[in-house]
Amino acid sequence: MAQLLDFKCPSCGGAINFDSQAQKMKCPYCDTEFEMDAVLQHEEAIQSESAKDDFTWNVQADNNWQEDELNNFAAYVCQSCGGQIVGDFTTAATSCPYCDNPVVIAGNISGDMRPDYIIPFKLTKEQAKQGLREHMKGKRLLPKQFKDENHIDKIRGMYVPFWLFDTKADANFRYKATKTSTWSDSNYVYTKTSYYSILRSGNIAFSSVPVDASSQMPDDLMESIEPYNVAELTNFHAGFLAGYLADRYDVPADECIERANHRVRQSTENQFRSTVTGYSTVATENSNIQLSDGKANYVLYPVWVLNTSWQGEQFTFAMNGQTGRFIGDLPLDRKAYWKWFGLVALIAAALAYAAAWLFLR
């Protein structure tokens, strides 16, 4: 049996959540707000009271964990109601299906699994719903029924594991560039092409390049809601997870680094290339990028995930839980597409013909 953390209200004993608006722990039953540190210390005090039991729990938890891992899911017993909670082996936070109390699976946020930093949720479920409404605005080719029905099967506030890579790049570039000038006398037009060799060396640093560390979250969906404001990274505290879902990483850092490298390379090339100006053509002849001082941090980023199905197709939307950036592909209304196509084509053709009539006769 794995260890579960749930935060009990010191005032009334109810299960307390992290409140994204107050940025504090808040009891949904008695509306009492608590400072994160206070809860932490309170929790520690309780833990130390039953220190003996906890230590054995931990050992057992790890053993059990290994067994459960083989089956790709894990079973826990809710500490509030005793119901059995079945979760993915990567689940770090969820809620009890019987009593709906938030639970945090301690084994998945401790030791190696303990995130270095977290960006707590700043936006609420209501804001996520609002985000979807905004997202569907101004999209003329969205099927009307899809907009009207507006049924969302599931809204989940999820902490998604990310690796953040810091690195320094030393780069040398050699470009071949040309400049052309033309002039003419009475008989000929002259074109002079001058060839240059352009050398650029320098360095550039990247910090907190994120790569999705969860195999369950689609990478493109996660990259689409970037960027997160890393200035708001705070030290990890399990309390932040209360009331949300969380996964621990299941893609190790060295597997993610490739994607980070790719993006760093692209940006480095762009940055150096942008310093070569005033030429009519520029081609890269040779490039050499060396990364150093690489560092990876394990963090949790807040994401609102909305699921809906329409005409047998699944649609997933994601909202950045910090900045509110909302993305997700929407279905296309084919009838509306051709209606608009015909209308626009007709108007444009009429205008083109009118313009020809006026100016080309």
Partner: protein, 280 residues
């Protein structure tokens, strides 16, 4: 004394009669009659059927009366050894075409033998149908004549003549810089439809693209550490250059002024004509 005066009067009378009689005898074949001798449509080459002829003649008469300028159409088999210009001018002069003291008129001649055509103008017709105006006009109806659609071509000629006469009545005949607008060439219709389709594809494609928002990031520009980009070496080395030259296209010297108006010539009868012609 009195008798002498009588003699003188008689002599004068006789001489006047003689002169009056003599002149027409001298130029009997080449005189310019006071009255129009032929209808405004002379279809000697028999290119039109009776009903076409009747309709066309009605139209010609109507317009000619309305604008007090003869608009005539003549078809012949042969130019009888004359040039098209000579034949048209003489036909106009010696058959008494033209209305009013200046004999205002325009005559369109086609000869089937060598497929010649000519438009001759006289009097105010010279100003109404300027060189540029005529060129613009023939562009629009001559192709029908070439295709042997004579009735259609002639009707078009009459319609255009009316348009030109109407414009001239406003005091500003069609000329360089003041030409009527031609209808668009046929290919502009498919071209406009093509433009419409492309524009629709771009615009509606943009609307469609709005539905898709999930895409991977390119690069990591958001994560470049502030002020971390430093160039340690920056050199632009000049290697070599080469010069190529291409001959300028020769500007075609546009010979001949385009001052507008009509160039004129003098016909065998001594009257001044404007006009132009060619082969169809």
């Amino acid at each position: 004394m009195k008798q002498k005066k009588h003699l003188k009067t008689i002599a004068l009378f006789i001489s006047v009669i003689f002169t009056v009689l003599l002149i027409p005898i001298q130029t009997s074949a080449q005189t310019i009659p006071d009255q129009r001798l032929l209808p405004r449509l002379v279809d000697n080459a028999d290119l039109l059927n009776d009903s076409e002829e009747e309709k066309l003649l009605d139209k010609l008469d109507l317009i000619s009366e309305k604008y007090q300028t003869d608009v005539a159409i003549v078809t012949v088999y042969s130019l009888e050894g004359k040039t098209a210009a000579e034949y048209a001018d003489d036909f106009f002069d010696y058959n008494g075409y033209g209305i009013g003291p200046n004999r205002d008129g325009v005559l369109f001649l086609i000869s089937m033998e060598h497929r010649d055509w000519f438009i001759t103008t006289h009097g105010s017709g010279i100003q109404t149908f300027t060189d540029a105006g005529r060129a613009h006009m023939t562009e629009q109806f001559l192709s029908y004549i070439s295709d042997a659609k004579y009735a259609k071509g002639f009707n078009k000629f009459v319609d255009l003549s009316e348009q030109y006469l109407k414009q001239a009545a406003k005091g500003k005949p069609y000329d360089y810089g003041n030409l009527p607008k031609k209808p668009l060439a046929w290919y502009w219709l498919p071209a406009a439809i093509g433009v419409g389709l492309i524009v629709a594809f771009v615009i509606v494609g943009g609307m469609k693209a709005k539905l898709k928002s999930v895409r991977r990031q390119v690069g990591a520009d958001d994560y470049v550490a502030a002020n971390s980009f430093v160039l340690t070496d920056q050199r632009d080395l000049y290697l070599y250059s080469h010069v190529s030259r291409t001959a300028k296209p020769k500007e075609s010297s546009s010979g001949g002024g385009s001052g507008g108006g009509s160039r004129t010539r003098t016909s065998s009868s001594g009257s001044t004509h404007g006009g132009s012609g060619g082969k169809f």
